[in-house]
């Protein structure tokens, strides 16, 4: 009784949360520092123009955020001209800003003028290594095919990414691997990789430990930052966004990026932009790092944990409600059983990140909490379905015969004999699902849905292990608690007769 009330409570909560923000503007951003900061700048600018707005931080890669904008889940997000022409419009050769604006129009999307800075791709190396090997241009890499190249997955896959770059420069590197951006910097510093891709405004480049290789053949297109917005956004909001045109140059952006990585506070970094002193000179010294604020952290932790539990709880309950009946059907011989186990098994083989990306592109889902819940639900199905089916199949045929011969109807056989006897196996399946679910739910942060993944995603974005641990440790503890909780539940739900040690005669 209490449990059901609790479940319905959280379902209700979920219903309340989602449409509550329908009235306000939503700003999206991709999962890296600069995009976060630009998103915060847009939020503040729109707030100053009188719009209540919400920033869905770090929603993911280009495809996800673009889909969210296109389907109306967000109103605007920061993008780069190079990405727009190559990835979104798939145009060949350079096109002007004006042409881009015209080609975006049929999508219902508008584009502000350039904000000022050019955040193009670049290849970087540890400065000391580059100096030693006398490498200053990308062409110089040709003489060193043995250098280990660690590229972000996005750069590896982009049409204007690594492959055409290598063929343009005639590079034939022996080791090319895909590594997440900030982990790539760690690899470079630790001497585990030698070359990686970077953005020309990366905060990491401020310190002077890395050399940016000159793009001597002019390969990289320009990546001027702009905002993309929906043409159906309020005119006043569009006007407000356009006031940012030409206001942010490279120095300012690098400065804000490094401020963001130092303070781990994007709002704070973005607020620099609105500080008149900063506008005059971007050079100045950074803030001294502040001491760790425990009250703030615990407050945030409580929020993340609650959200995490909500994601896990709702998706798990749905998975039980659907998975157990499916498992019962699958326990009976026949082709339906193969179909059910086959499909749920196949879902499990889709990498969780890919599943999330797939679901985001489904029309009715998109960037919202339901999408994360659907993904977690699908992920939780297999262990529950499979364990329910095997638990029921494992019941000895002599007991099935007894149950039938007593004159119990099929439903009564299931309720009074089969389900209690399979309870241990079914609970084990639910427990597996719950534990997987606690871990996988951290991915919800990738589409801006919070939970304990939020500090992990932002930690990865700003290259800060401490922030990552703020999410990773509680998530691990939560998984242990779930495991422990199910241990107690076993005592409660598995009939005593099945827990007794077998009689030895």
């Amino acid at each position: 009784m209490k449990l059901t009330r609790c479940i319905f409570g959280s379902l209700w909560l979920c219903v309340l949360i989602v449409p509550a923000s329908a009235q306000s503007l939503r700003i999206g951003s991709k999962a890296f520092t600069e995009s976060y900061v630009l998103g915060e700048i847009a939020k503040r600018t729109l707030a100053d123009a009188g719009f209540a707005s919400e920033h869905k931080q770090g929603m993911g890669k280009t495809g996800i955020v673009w889909a969210a904008l296109h389907s109306g889940q967000i109103t605007c997000y920061p993008e780069y001209t190079g990405t727009i022409s190559e990835e979104l419009l798939k145009s060949h050769g350079e096109i002007t800003t004006g042409e881009m604006q015209r080609e975006l129009e049929p999508f219902g999307i508008g584009m502000t003028g350039e904000l000022g800075f050019n955040d193009t791709y670049a290849l970087v190396m540890p400065k000391e290594l580059a100096d030693r090997l006398r490498i200053s241009k990308i062409s110089d890499l040709k003489k060193h095919p043995g250098l280990r190249v660690a590229l972000t997955h996005e750069f590896l896959e982009r049409k204007d990414g690594w492959k055409p770059l290598a063929s343009r420069y005639g590079l034939n590197m022996d080791h090319v691997a895909g590594v997440e951006h900030t982990l790539g910097y760690d690899a470079l510093l630790a001497g585990k990789a030698d070359v990686k891709d970077a953005y020309s405004t990366d905060a990491m480049l401020a310190g002077g430990s890395f050399s940016v290789l000159q793009d001597d053949l002019g390969y990289f297109p320009t990546y001027k930052a702009v905002f993309l917005y929906r043409l159906d956004a309020p005119i006043k909001a569009i006007v407000a966004l356009r006031t940012l045109e030409g206001e942010i140059d490279e120095t300012r952006m690098i400065r804000m990026n490094s401020e963001a990585e130092k303070t781990k506070d994007f709002t704070e970094a973005a607020s620099l932009f609105f500080n008149p002193a900063f506008r005059k000179s971007a050079g100045g010294g950074a803030h001294a790092p502040q001491g760790f604020d425990w009250t703030l952290f615990l407050h945030k932790l409580a929020g993340w944990t609650l959200r995490h539990l909500e994601l896990v709880g709702i998706s798990l309950v749905l998975a039980i409600l659907v998975g157990v009946p499916l498992g019962i059907v699958a326990s009976r011989p026949g082709s339906l059983s193969h179909v059910i186990l086959g499909v749920t098994g196949m879902i499990q083989t889709i990498p969780s990140l890919a599943l999330l990306a797939l679901l985001v592109s489904v029309p009715l889902l998109g960037i919202q909490v339901q999408t994360a819940i659907v993904a977690l639900f699908l992920y939780s199905l297999l262990p529950i379905v499979r364990n329910t089916a095997t638990g029921l199949q494992e019941i000895p045929s002599s007991l099935r015969e007894s149950a039938a011969a007593l004159g119990l109807e099929r439903s009564a056989q299931l309720r009074k004999v089969y389900m209690p006897m399979a309870s241990r196996t079914i609970l084990a399946g639910i427990k597996t699902s719950a534990i997987i679910n606690v871990g996988t739910a951290t991915l919800a942060a990738l589409i801006g849905q919070g939970g304990l993944g939020e500090p992990i995603v932002s930690g990865l974005a700003i290259n800060d292990n401490r922030t990552i641990l703020q999410g990773a440790i509680p998530a691990a503890i939560l998984a242990l608690l779930v495991q422990f909780g199910f241990g107690l539940l076993d005592m409660l739900l598995i009939p005593k007769g099945l827990r007794l040690p077998a009689h030895t005669e």
């Binding site: 007894s402 039938a404 011969a405 007593l406 004159g407 109807e409 009074k416 007769g497």
Partner: protein, 244 residues
């Protein structure tokens, strides 16, 4: 009374039971006997409707066994399977009272019936709240028997009720079963391997071989007027076992 008319059972291309005609009279005890795999359990499974006959009809207490009437017929039958078939997640009491509870029989009625059965089967009352794993083999058989008798069925079917027990317990229970059968005056059909047991407990013996009835009669008939050499061999093999 149970009647099998031209009943056969085929699994794939093999006949577990060739078409047989068999009448088991009401109020009498019939033993099914024969070598392992000859089709004894198959006969009982067909009567309870756990198997559908390949041919023929089965009539239990004037009611033809059809899939539609199965639930009703099964509630008039008490069936104890080869290894007891007690549900491990239920105590003895819960096992026995599963059906009365399901049928919402008045608590006081089923309690009275339970007490009678405990007395009939000689089952210690403190065993009622133990789980099957906490009982001895003989006690488990008694609980299975009580579960089969709780709805006061017209017919009692027992598949090797004493099969898995050690000889001492077994002979004790044989005496008890004989008494129980005499007191109940029900139609009883039981399966056994042991000719002495069949002769002691049953009025009529049905000897099966490879899915066919070889001889049907009392112990006297089988001993004195064997139908063929197989019956003679079977009887002498059993006798030599006893003489060992």
């Amino acid at each position: 009374m149970i009647e099998l008319r031209g009943v056969s059972k085929r699994f794939g291309s093999d006949y577990a039971l060739h078409p047989i005609d068999l009448v088991m009279n009401g109020g009498r005890t019939t033993a099914l006997i024969g070598p392992s795999g000859c089709g004894k359990s198959t006969v009982l499974r067909l009567i309870v409707g756990l198997l559908e006959p390949t041919s023929g009809t089965i009539v239990v207490e004037k009611q033809t066994v059809t899939p539609a009437d199965l639930i009703g017929i099964r509630r008039k039958l008490g069936y104890v399977i080869q290894d007891g078939g007690l549900f491990p997640h239920l105590t003895s009491r819960q096992n026995i009272l599963l059906m009365p509870k399901h049928l919402r029989t008045a608590e006081s009625d089923s309690q009275r019936r339970l007490n009678e059965l405990c007395e009939l089967t000689n089952f210690p009352a403190d065993g009622l709240d133990r789980y099957p794993v906490e009982l001895s083999g003989g006690q488990r058989q008694r609980v299975s028997l009580m579960r089969a008798l709780i709805l006061d069925p017209d017919v009692l079917l027992l598949d090797e009720p004493l099969g898995a027990l050690d000889p001492l317990v077994r002979s004790g229970l044989q005496t008890e079963l004989k008494e129980i059968f005499q007191r109940l005056k029900k139609t009883v059909v039981f399966v056994t391997h042991d000719m002495a047991e069949a002769g002691y407990l049953a009025d009529t013996i049905v000897l099966l071989q490879s899915g066919k009835i070889v001889q049907h009669g009392c112990l006297e008939d089988l001993r004195e007027r064997p139908a063929n050499s197989f019956v003679t061999e079977f009887m002498s093999a059993q006798r030599s076992l006893v003489q060992l």
